[in-house]
Assembly symmetry: C3
Homo-oligomer: 180 residues x 3
């Protein structure tokens, strides 16, 4: 199961305004920074910045999974209750399996910071051999949420027969259960 | 985004027995009392008492959202595992988006009181510009659950371009994140 | 509502390897042991050991509910993210109602033991008068999860007009709310 290949990780920012250049995509940047800090094993990013449009999000997720061969795709943006927030629906539409534990834990962690965390509709799921995780839009919340779920991500990729991720010394400790 | 219009709030009780007059609808009354206590801004109730019948619940939810123009609809009843408990299914059927954080938090809060809280299937979702929230049937649990989710409701309605709700001095503190 | 009939409880192990005899079904055995310890009222097990094949799981669940008349069906295996893990999907496909509180609580409890608990996709639901609960595959996790949800199971079966379960002295205390 130990593979030495470089892990490809998709970073997908869904944001009408950032994709139009109204402001900089600080959220996508925050994801890259946190992953760089947390991962000791080699990885390369596959980055996409697109509007909050459901067909576009679905098409881009499929491309990152099926064509770009990403083992992990992390999204930011579009998880709130507003009309243009459709990232969870797009994620569910392209996944064969949903992983409710990610959303539950991310909301539980964010809830310690702000009571409006219950408005976040973040989910996670699996398409083929790719784990897709929705993160919140706010850079500080991105760090909190990635910190909370990071320990389980490498083992999840093992189970999906993906690349072997290793955590850095400063990352939240990666956990791999002993084989049965 | 600040609107001074009166917020219309739907209170929907689904109960075979209360709707037949077998007993009084104490649950709907409890919701009204708690909202009266928690809201400082003006609101008016749009009340419906109907049987635990899925088509009737769906039709009434649509009416409260689309015709009565409620910014918020709060239901009580029909969230358990029994055969006639179908409120969550009716809610999901009329919503475009689900808000899983509400159910998670309400169950977590109720679980501190009774272990049977895990049997509650409460959910929440959005139809158009209306937030629909399922509350439990028991008046004391209604208060616990509303108390837990109230701080996030006004900001949710802001994001849905609804009326500007203000909390009273004795309400759980309303939270509105700073704009990005 | 008090029935003195013997409760039939289905124990369904979904495991490619155990069903091929590669190893013993310790998970199914663990469920039986824990239930024997927790239940004071009479029950009899209806046991099935099948591969991780979605149509087979669905067919077996239907058989345990509709033909064998189980009041409760407890599954083990197939709740992870791997390609052959399809028990939650099979469960959802045969249920009329989902019970999200079970999965939430089991993950919360398991999360105190291992951070990879968020990878578990366990769910629960109702088919006719039968409560179906997915448990994890690991025997120690089975005990932790059953311990966490056991107090709510007898009352759930009451609401489904099923047999009256009684907890043993050493079981986590069964809770039955007073009637309204």
């Amino acid at each position: 199961m130990t593979q030495t290949s470089v892990a490809r990780i998709g970073i997908l920012t869904a944001s009408d305004r950032a994709s139009q250049g109204v402001y900089e995509d600080l959220s996508g940047k925050a994801i890259e920074q946190v992953l760089t800090e947390f991962l000791a094993s080699k990885w390369e990013k596959v980055y996409r910045l697109i509007p909050d449009d459901r067909p576009t999000i679905e098409r881009t997720l499929k491309e990152l999974c099926d064509e770009e061969g990403c083992a992990l795709v992390v999204t930011t943006g579009g998880t709130g209750p507003a009309r243009r927030d459709v990232t969870p629906e797009a994620t569910e539409a392209v996944c064969e399996k949903m992983m409710p534990g990610f959303g539950e834990q991310m909301r539980a962690v964010s809830l310690k910071v702000v009571p409006t965390a219950i408005l976040s509709r973040q989910t996670a799921g699996i398409r083929g051999k790719t784990l897709i995780i929705n993160l919140p839009g706010k850079p500080s919340a991105i760090r909190d949420c990635l910190e909370a779920v990071f320990p389980a991500i490498p083992y999840c990729l093992d189970l999906l027969e993906g690349p072997f991720l290793q955590g850095s010394d400063t990352a939240p400790k990666v956990f791999r259960p002993k084989a049965k």
